[in-house]
Structure formats: C-alpha cells, structure tokens
C-alpha cells in the first residue's frame, strides 16, 4: 500500500501539480508531520502505522490550514484517511481551505481499526491505495444509552472531574480553528479553577463541535486524563444525524443544518 502511495506522490511532485506533499515521516524513532518537496526523496515516508494501524496519527489538516494561510497561491497534497478527508470537506465548507488548492491522497483503514473507531466511513473518496473497508456500527453509544440515568450521571461526573483543563482536545482538533475560543472566555470559564464546571465545560465543547466534529478521535487520544471524549461527540453526531440527517464531512458540498434558516428536514 505504502509503495503505491509513494509512486502517486512522486508523480504529483514531478508533474508540478503540487508545491509540496504534507505527510508523515519517521525520523529518529518518532513519527512527525513533514512537507515533502520536489526532488526530495520520499525516504522515511510513513502512513502512521507503527505497532498497529493508525497508532501514530497526526492532525495534518491543521498543519495544512497553517500552510495554506502562509502560501495561499500554492496547491498542496495531503495524506488522508477517511476521517481526515471528512475533516477536509468540513474545512472547505467552513471556508478554512480552498478546494482547488488541495489534492488529497487517500488510503483506507484496516477493518480492525474501523471497528475500534466505530467509523462510519473508514476510507476516503480520493482512495489511492487500499480497499473500501466496511463501516462499523455505533455500539458504545448504544451501550451508554442502555444504562439508567443515575449510572450515566455517575460515569460522566467521574470522567469530567478528571479534566486538568489542558485544552489538549481543542489544540489537537483539526476542526477547531476559531481565533477566540469560548472555553477561554473568562466570563464563561473561570481561569485557574479546577475541576472545571461539570458538565458545562465539556458540553460546551460538545455543542460547538456538533456540526463540525468529524469523529477522528484525536482528542480522545490526546487527553491525558483519558476522558472518553470521542464517545461524547459520537452522541452529538448521532443526534445531528437522527434529527437533521447530517453527518459532518460525510458528503462533499454538504451544508450544516445549524447554519440554515427554516424547518428541520
């Protein structure tokens, strides 16, 4: 799979279709984002799979946004999984990236990873390598819904109270780009206070991500307190889907029901 992608990327670079390719590199035992440029060898290029598939992912879209702001005239290639591509579609919709300045190079995730992520679409539309893996069902949300109210209250209060307010979830999030963040507004969130206001702090973020979150799960991986944030956002996404038939980033050119006037469909 990786060889197919390397060839494809090398082709794009020599044909000058892209100014650079944003991917991952394995260097000194670490996986990090890297901009591969023309003439440079693709040595060290990695898909972010070390011990298991997808265990060294990185919010490349976030880097891409920074990059395209610095070089708005250039076109860049970017390595995407299914979730990353959903992120790209979301960022196009929210005017953070220009579609014709981005060439996604996609690969699919293996079935085990799709299963673990409970991913709705574990392959990108711009599939260069890999097969279209089957999507998985939301089991953990249903499991949580099955518990009674008191149990859920106990579970989430115990989770939220662990928060050390490091803002890691927001900082790693490829869909968080606001210049002013509500979670840093002192009128809403008291500075220096721990624990955070339960459950307001986490639900505020969940609401803000309702039509953005593309379920990549990086927040969950980044959280030093192991708060199951992904589960929380999966529920928000489920509500958006049942009530509005909308899933962030699932289809290109979609529009968010939260930014439209009129009755819900």
């Amino acid at each position: 799979m990786i060889e197919t992608i390397k060839q494809h990327v090398a082709g794009l670079l020599t044909e000058k279709k892209i100014a650079g390719f944003l991917g991952l590199i394995e260097k000194n035992g670490h996986v990090a984002p890297h901009l591969f440029k023309d003439g440079e060898s693709l040595a060290g290029f990695t898909l972010g799979d070390r011990k298991t598939a997808g265990d060294a992912r990185y919010p490349l879209n976030k880097t891409l946004v920074t990059l395209s702001r610095a070089y708005p005239e250039e076109t860049f290639g970017v390595l995407v999984r299914g979730c990353d591509e959903r992120g790209l579609y979301g960022l196009f919709r929210l005017n953070q990236l220009t579609e014709d300045r981005v060439i996604p190079v996609g690969f699919s995730c293996p079935a085990e990873l799709s299963e673990a992520c409970e991913c709705r679409k574990p392959y990108p539309d711009s599939l260069v390598a890999g097969e279209k893996t089957e999507s998985s069902q939301l089991k953990k949300v249903a499991e949580m819904d099955g518990k009674d109210l008191a149990r859920r209250f106990d579970f989430w209060t115990a989770q939220f109270v662990k928060c050390v307010k490091c803002y890691g979830c927001r900082d790693v999030c490829p869909m968080c780009f606001c210049k002013e963040c509500s979670l840093e507004c002192e009128d809403l969130v008291a500075k220096g206070d721990l624990p955070v206001e339960v459950p307001v702090f986490h639900l505020t973020r969940a609401m803000h991500m309702a039509d953005r979150c593309v379920d990549c799960g990086l927040c969950d991986e980044a959280c030093p307190s192991d708060i199951p944030l992904r589960l929380l956002y999966k529920k928000t996404a489920q509500i958006m889907d049942t009530d509005y038939g909308f899933t962030s980033g699932l289809n290109k050119n979609e529009r968010s029901p939260l930014s439209q006037m009129g009755p819900a469909k």
């Binding site: 859920r152 209250f153 989430w156 209060t157 939220f160 109270v161 624990p195 929380l232 529920k235 509500i239």
Partner: protein, 60 residues
C-alpha cells in the same frame, strides 16, 4: 446531551416567548418552577465534591 451525561433533561427548558406576551412568560416560568420543585435539588454539586475528594485520596 444532558440526558446522555445523566442529568434529567427536564432541568433545561428553552421556550420562545414574545416580549408582548407577559402572561405566557409567567405561566411558563411558574410551570418550570413546579417541575424543578418536583425534581428536587440537583445531585451535581455534591457528586462533584465527592469525586474530588476521591481523587485526592487516590491519585490516579
């Protein structure tokens, strides 16, 4: 989302009432007060305090 995190969803209410409809507003607020009285105090504050103590005793 409140319901998902274990808080009675009846504790939050959003209604649209025009500024010219004072009686509707009063009715709505009174009804909400009754609901809240029925539900009783929220267990949230006590639960958070208890969890905080637990954490102090056994740092993870």
């Amino acid at each position: 989302m409140l319901d998902f995190t274990g808080i009675e969803k009846e504790r939050l209410r959003a209604r649209w009432v025009s500024s010219a409809e004072a009686p509707e507003f009063v009715e709505e607020v009174n009804a909400f007060i009754d609901t809240l009285k029925e539900l009783g105090p929220s267990p949230l504050k006590a639960a958070v305090e208890a969890k905080k103590e637990e954490q102090k005793e056994a740092p993870a």
